[in-house]
């Protein structure tokens, strides 16, 4: 069976849209199948892999950091990379350079990289399929 290559473009910023929950579910399935995955994180999505995200407590619910165990998108990105590697696939996660500069989020999860829309074009050319998940 040939190893598929899929490209997904994301545009939503962290912690705002259910689109990202669905996107990570799709990506996780593809990773478990050992597919090669390209992700182009554009506009707000450029913050998904920002490495300085930290978990926080939830004083309203009386939970400390450990009890709240709030998921961060940087950990989801790292988990995706690990899952792909475990299945023999790979993830090329590109953070739009201008987008990260605008937002001050240019420190990435290891294994992701800075790029530009030209990378998205190259991904599309080299992929079996492309899914663009736009903002609402």
């Amino acid at each position: 069976m040939s190893r598929k290559t899929l490209t997904i473009a994301l545009m939503d910023p962290p912690y705002e849209s259910e689109n990202l929950t669905t996107a990570f579910r799709i990506l996780e399935v593809a990773a478990r199948r050992g597919y090669h995955i390209n992700v182009f994180a554009y506009e707000g999505a450029a913050g998904l892999a920002f490495v300085r995200q930290t978990q926080h407590p939830n004083p309203v619910h009386g939970k400390d950091v450990a009890e709240e165990n709030h998921p961060t998108t940087k950990d989801q990105v790292a988990a995706l990379l690990a899952a792909a590697e475990q299945s023999g696939g790979k993830v090329d996660w590109v953070n739009c350079g201008m987008c990260v500069d605008e937002r001050g989020v240019n420190e990435f999860v290891p294994g992701t990289r800075r790029g530009s829309p030209a990378d998205f074009h190259a991904f599309a050319e080299a992929s079996d399929n492309v899914l663009v998940i736009p903002t609402k």
Partner: protein
């Protein structure tokens, strides 16, 4: 004949654009294509038997495969589905992508 996967994430009670997306599905089928409409997130709300379910039933009768994401259904407490709609896992999306089907997200 082409194969299409149309992903609908929006709630038709909130967005009138959803109706246009359903029209796109219907038009593609009428043009001789195979179309799967995959409802996800608040897009699954009309899968609960309701005032907006008739449109999904009509699509199914016209030959569109109408699926609703099982995770989104569970989150919203939707157990009983409108006629013509079937629950499906998110794996369906990856299978369509891997098969090279034209895939759109709304």
């Amino acid at each position: 004949m082409a194969q299409y996967l149309l992903i609908e994430s929006r709630d038709p009670f909130e967005s009138n654009d959803v109706g246009y997306y359903y029209d796109l599905a219907k038009g593609l089928v009428e043009g001789g294509n195979q179309v799967t409409l995959f409802l996800v997130q608040n897009g699954v709300l009309p899968a609960r038997p309701s005032a907006r379910s008739a449109a999904l039933n009509a699509l199914a009768r016209n030959g569109v495969t109408v699926l609703a994401d099982d995770f989104s259904l569970q989150e919203r407490g939707i157990a009983k589905l409108a006629e013509g709609v079937a629950a499906a896992p998110i794996e369906v999306v990856v299978e369509h992508l891997a098969a090279g089907h034209k895939t759109l997200w709304h």
